[in-house]
């Protein structure tokens, strides 16, 4: 579908308005996060506006529906950024919902709205990024027995529980499994899974944490051709990492606004704290991170197939800690009040930490890059 820059900007304006008027209102009190009913309501409204997809058959401009032109990519990341400004947790939920739809479409799953809205995506394995082996498979490199064992274990859904963060009432999930030396997909109903709820997790207060295991043979398994399997997974990985980065950017924008506002009213030592070099330094840290994340997202505003998965992963590895650092500086600018749950910065920091930990985290990206660039493992 054709989309030019003007279309993209208009659509983003709509998303921005919706985020400001609907999501931000419900998320105004950080100590009282958006609850399941409110999230359901917002999700339906977002579907009606076309921000989220209605079914797998629709053809529109919802998030991650298109990834083949630069403007669509700008819209995808820009929309998530707007939503994250209001609520990173909601943005994360919708990012994963939109990607679940992407996988469903790619794998030929026909889903109606009620099925789609209850579906969760698990993009990665039970821990990390499959060390070197996933990257080798993505490159279509010959896999050693060790690589195959690694990927088989990584995507084993029975032995190790997979951690997911999702709306409490999710109904099914789609996750990658290892089958015949390639990634296949399985769509499983929640009732067919072993699911245990966790206590309150670190961030994403709007969502709940679950440990999920599949101990019985159930669900629908789709085995794409090897090349299609690789290309779909590479696209998914890139979009997932870019989405997480965009949500981090939105949370940063919000934190930046909070820090600047506070520094402009709070006095210390007889003058505004914004006039103290110690505070200026922290505000500048936030600016530097914002500049860098802007640059990164702009660089990746290209058709997804033109993006190098190693470059996206490397950017995630460097930007995620920087975004967390900036969130820490937002809290630090606020001092004691920033530590309190009703102020805002602490929730942004927890959400930023969560983003860093998602999809295998960032620590194993080094091993992934070693596999991707062909460096000795």
């Amino acid at each position: 579908m054709y989309m030019d820059t003007e279309d993209s900007e208009q659509l983003l304006e709509e998303v921005g308005r919706f985020a400001r008027e609907r999501i931000a209102g419900m998320a105004a009190r950080p100590e009282s996060p958006i609850n399941t009913d409110q999230l359901t309501l917002l999700t339906r409204e977002a579907c009606e506006l076309g921000i989220l997809p209605l079914t797998t058959a629709d053809d529109g401009f919802s998030i991650w529906e298109h990834n083949d032109v630069a403007q669509a990519m700008s819209f995808n990341t820009g929309a998530l950024r707007h939503i994250a400004y209001a609520s990173p947790g909601v943005a994360f939920a919708w990012h994963r919902l939109a990607l679940a739809r992407f996988v469903a479409v790619q794998q030929g799953l026909a889903l109606e709205q009620k099925d789609l809205l209850g579906m969760q995506l698990v993009p990665t394995g039970h821990y990390g990024l499959g060390r070197n082996s996933l990257a080798k498979w993505l490159k279509a490199e010959a896999l050693s027995a060790e690589d195959k064992d690694m990927l088989s274990d990584w995507l084993d859904r029975g032995v190790n529980a997979t951690t997911i963060y999702a709306p409490k009432d999710w109904k099914s999930l789609v996750w990658p499994i290892w089958s015949d030396d390639h990634i296949a997909w399985r769509h499983v109903e929640r009732k067919e899974l072993e699911v245990s709820s966790g206590n309150a997790q670190h961030g994403f207060d709007e969502l709940a944490g679950f440990a999920v295991r599949q101990t019985s043979i159930a669900g629908k398994t789709i085995k794409p051709e090897p090349d299609a399997s690789r290309s779909t997974y590479a696209r998914l990985l890139k979009m997932d990492m870019l989405g997480l980065l965009s949500i981090g950017a939105g949370a940063l924008d919000r934190g930046r606004a909070l820090a600047r506002d506070y520094a402009g009213i709070r006095k210390q030592g007889g003058k505004l704290i914004a006039e103290h070099p110690a505070v200026q330094h922290m505000l500048s840290d936030i600016e530097i991170t914002r500049h860098n994340v802007d640059m990164a997202l702009a660089a990746f505003a290209r058709p997804v197939d033109e993006l190098d998965v190693g470059a996206v992963a490397a950017t995630r590895a460097s930007m995620s800690p920087a975004l967390c650092h900036a969130a820490n500086q937002v809290m630090q600018v606020h001092g004691g009040i920033g530590y309190m749950r009703d102020a805002g910065p602490e929730k942004l920091l927890r959400d930023q930490n969560m983003l860093k930990l998602m999809s295998g985290g960032t620590r194993e990206i080094h091993a992934f890059l070693a596999g991707w660039t062909g460096a000795p493992a």
């Binding site: 821990y127 670190h202 030592g269 820490n328 630090q332 001092g335 749950r341 930990l357 985290g361 194993e364």
Partner: protein, 457 residues
Amino acid sequence: MNKQIHLEGHLPVDHRLSPHWQFSNLPLIGRVLANYPVNDLWETDFARLPRALAKQRRRARTFAEQYLMPAADELDLAVHLPAGECHPTAHRILCEAGKQGWLSYFMPAPLGSMPWGTVLHAPIWQCSLIVEEFSRACGGLMLLLSAHHLGAMPLILSGRVNNMLRYLAPVYRSCERGEPHLIAFAITEPGAGSDVEEGHGAEVYRPGVVATPTEGGYLLNGRKCFISGGDLSKTATVFAALQGEGMDSWTCFYVDCSDPGYKVARTELKMGMRASGAAEIELTDVFVPSDRIIGGLRNGWALNRATLNASRIPVASMGVGFARAATETAVEFARRYKVGGKELIHYQDVQLHLATMVAETRAIRSLVWQEAKAAWQPRQLNASLCKFHATDRAQRVCEMAMDLLADHGGKHENKLEKIFRDVRLTRIFEGTNQINRLTMVEDWQAQLLDFDHSVGV
């Protein structure tokens, strides 16, 4: 059999090229100079402590593991209670802590519970050891038990034996009977956030609490905020400016929290350390008799700064406790969680990650011990440096632990997310780490501005 022979990538200890086991076969002098016991790291440091302090450290660990650790989750996840209400579990722990002497250890018997053997060492050192053990078990409960010592500190630092006998001794005795009497330290003023000493340096200081002379004493009016333990305390050392005067008139008043006009307005919804309340206090014509002025009129500022100099090293030790808890949690995860058919600990990159965490943790412990050991008269420069550096690095260790657990790092059940929320406060309270960097430099000026001599570091 639960002991593996060696980690992948490393030689077994009995391999010919792994010489440690052969050290014991060297001739006497060689053995003396080269052979070493392969002890647990905690035990290694334990053996380096003076005996009395080592004993306290082990006692603290036992108490923390027996009482604090099992209650940590319950209190962290508990519903926020109305100001002044104490969670039954917290109350039970306070009673037991009092009986075991953890609320009275800044003075030896008969006044307090400090073992006589530790009297020879700086009390801050003992306190730092205890705080590390308690922090490792639960940040909130550690603060609940430790903020009390902060509140008591002006009574000690005032240097008046009378204050200690008249005010501190009954507090300590009550605690030791199992009837906890907590003292709060009330300095932070409304509007503050990045510095406990907001008014310092202001051209126009608007005091948060004003003391107005009246017959037989003073009437206190105003507010204090972010007072750790202020919701449960029975007494408080409250710092107030004298009516019509500036910050240099700050005076420390020992206030009975049950007196008319004293009100806990609210407790904060904190990110972490939730077992301990941070209270906002309202004082409305609270009468304080003149004999409850601690350290004399207009000496409050000095008492406040001396108290902070004494407390910032233990705050640094909180960082050590949190870094240690995070490292231990990460090590346990790496020893047990399998990826690709083997435990994470066998992967070289995981070993590098853990090695860095252990080194960071032990480096800040060394810093804390070095400063605490010499802290008979804790210097502002050393205390502030120790606080900001140890807590900054401690948070980094906690982040590394979460990174190691990746997707699992955000789960409450895996402990790290709470440790992160707890450690985060140490970079803010007792002056943000930015403020602490400046107070360090403030106290360094004599050397920095002396151009007749080079500056030693």
